[in-house]
């Protein structure tokens, strides 16, 4: 049940994210999500790999719960934007679609479990729902920063999936993946800074010079 509660917590962070307009609040929620992800290795892995689990957990919490939010907050301060003013999809509708995505995730989770992955439907569905939420945020939000948050949530979903389904990956690979994501977020932060300097804002909807 503890594991269930963690998954429910993760799903709730996604739902809150879908309904939240304040960028700083969204960053905080993503940070919470990252920190909760750090707990997952303890619950999901065999205890005989404690050293590795500890290493992974500390790194995850530090990166996803600390460094990423810090980077994003810095970008946020520099661009002087507080809210996602006019998302492509309103917040109530986002939430409604979120419910639909949740149902889809649970359905798909059941299907995937049936084709032979030995994990619970809830864990699979949670990972899928995080991916869907991330993808949805990337598509439907106009602020560059929100899109980065969406990317992070997507990444979190895949990471959770990896923790649950795949146990025997070489630690070098995991390190490399985390490093890549870190660099991606860092570069996106720099890009946001440059974009806001060139455009005086970070609305992606005004990036419409290139068409066809």
């Amino acid at each position: 049940m503890l594991l269930d509660a963690v998954f429910v917590l993760l799903i709730l962070t996604n739902l809150i994210l879908l309904g939240s307009s304040l960028l700083s609040a969204s960053i905080r929620i993503v940070a919470v999500q990252g920190a909760v992800l750090g707990v997952l290795p303890f619950l999901a892995m065999a205890p005989d790999r404690l050293g590795r689990v500890l290493f992974l957990a500390v790194l995850t919490v530090a990166l996803k719960g600390g460094v990423f939010p810090w980077l994003l907050n810095r970008a946020l301060r520099e661009v002087h934007v507080r809210r996602e003013v006019a998302p492509l999809v309103g917040y109530s509708v986002s939430l409604a679609l979120g419910i639909g995505l949740l149902a889809l995730a649970f359905w798909l989770g059941g299907r995937i479990r049936d084709i032979g992955l030995g994990v619970s439907v809830l864990s699979l569905s949670t990972a899928l729902f995080m991916m869907f939420t991330g993808l949805f945020l990337v598509i439907s939000r106009q602020k560059a920063l929100s899109q980065v948050l969406g990317f992070l949530v997507l990444e979190n979903g895949i990471y959770a999936f990896g923790l649950l389904v795949v146990v025997n990956i070489h630690w070098l690979i995991e390190l490399g993946v985390l490093l890549d994501v870190f660099v991606a977020v860092f570069i996106m932060g720099v890009a946001i800074d440059q974009i806001s300097r060139a455009f005086d804002h970070m609305d992606v909807d005004q990036m419409n010079h290139l068409k066809g």
Binding site: A5, V8, I11, L12, Y91, S92, L95, A96, I99, V121
Partner: protein
């Protein structure tokens, strides 16, 4: 229909107007005021019942039927509502649907009566009420269905009595979600802060109070009493869900349940004291959030 259940229901009929009193006292305490007496609603009801009613010439029978049908509907709903873990006078498989529809009927009649006045102000309140309950009802029903699924019973009394410590250990997260969703809906449906402000009639953002502006005398008494009963029945479901043990003994159950109701009223008072009313545009989002919680709970129990 057993005698105990009937006695309990009569007790509820007498106690229901206490809830708003407790809520108001809690709010007054937080504001550092003396506050109205706990029995204020009883005095109001008594006063209103003495008066005659005035009806506008533009209204029809719908306007007069509104409060009466509404009160009747919620009374029937009360007969379906369990008293803690002890069964209601009326309990049969599928009564949860009837329960939801009775509350729906009450709302429908209130809305119709409001529209019947022809006043634009009341029409505004009616449209808001209809819109918000459109969002609140599915969430409420989804929660009921989820509980039914967990406990394997299709009647309100049965399923709430079946919620035990074991249930909580098994599907605790789902039950917490349902309780949270129901709390939001309880606040919304009973026109409490943060959805609606029960204190004032004349704000442009009012919902429930604005619909009943034109009622007076016994009609208004029926409305006030009906509202208190509605708060009670919805609160009773929530409290019964949250009590994780079945005491077995009658007086223990009664004590626990009434204690729970008292705590719930205090809780509502606290919420009203520490929160401001949401902007109207944010209300659908709140209700949608409640629906998301209920849906998530549903999926958790379905998997």
């Amino acid at each position: 229909m057993n005698v105990v259940a009937c006695v309990q229901t009569v007790l509820v009929l007498l106690l229901a107007p206490l809830l708003p009193g407790v809520i108001n006292r809690t709010k007054a305490f937080f504001a550092g005021r003396q506050g109205p007496p706990v029995l204020q609603l009883y005095f109001d009801l008594w006063k209103l019942a003495q008066k005659g009613a005035v009806y506008s010439r533009t209204t029809t029978w719908v306007f007069r039927a509104g409060p009466i049908v509404g009160l009747a509907a919620v009374l029937v709903a009360l007969f379906l509502t369990p008293f803690g873990k002890s069964a209601a006078p009326l309990a049969f498989g599928g009564d949860l649907i009837l329960f939801a529809y009775l509350l729906g009927l009450m709302r429908f009649m209130t809305v119709m009566a409001a529209l019947d006045t022809g006043s634009s102000f009341e029409g505004m309140g009616a449209s808001r009420e209809a819109f918000f309950s459109m969002l609140a009802e599915p969430a409420f029903l989804i929660g009921l269905v989820a509980v039914a699924r967990v406990t394997g019973s299709l009647s309100l009394s049965g399923m709430l009595a079946n919620v035990s410590a074991e249930t909580w250990l098994r599907v605790g997260p789902a039950l917490v979600l349902i309780a949270a969703a129901w709390m939001v809906i309880l606040l919304a449906e009973n026109s409490r802060i943060p959805v609606d402000d029960p204190n004032t009639h004349l704000e442009l953002t009012m919902i429930h109070e604005v619909m009943v502006l034109d009622h007076g005398g016994p009609d208004f008494a029926a409305i006030l009493y009906g509202a208190a009963l509605k708060l009670w029945v919805m609160g009773a479901l929530l409290v019964s869900l949250l009590i994780p043990v079945h005491p077995g003994v009658l007086w223990k159950n009664g004590l626990m349940f009434l204690g729970g109701m008292f705590l719930l009223a205090v809780g509502i008072g606290v919420v009203e004291s520490i929160m401001a009313r949401l902007r109207l545009a944010r209300v659908p989002q709140l209700l949608m959030g409640a629906m998301a919680l209920a849906a998530l709970a549903m999926m958790l129990v379905l998997k």
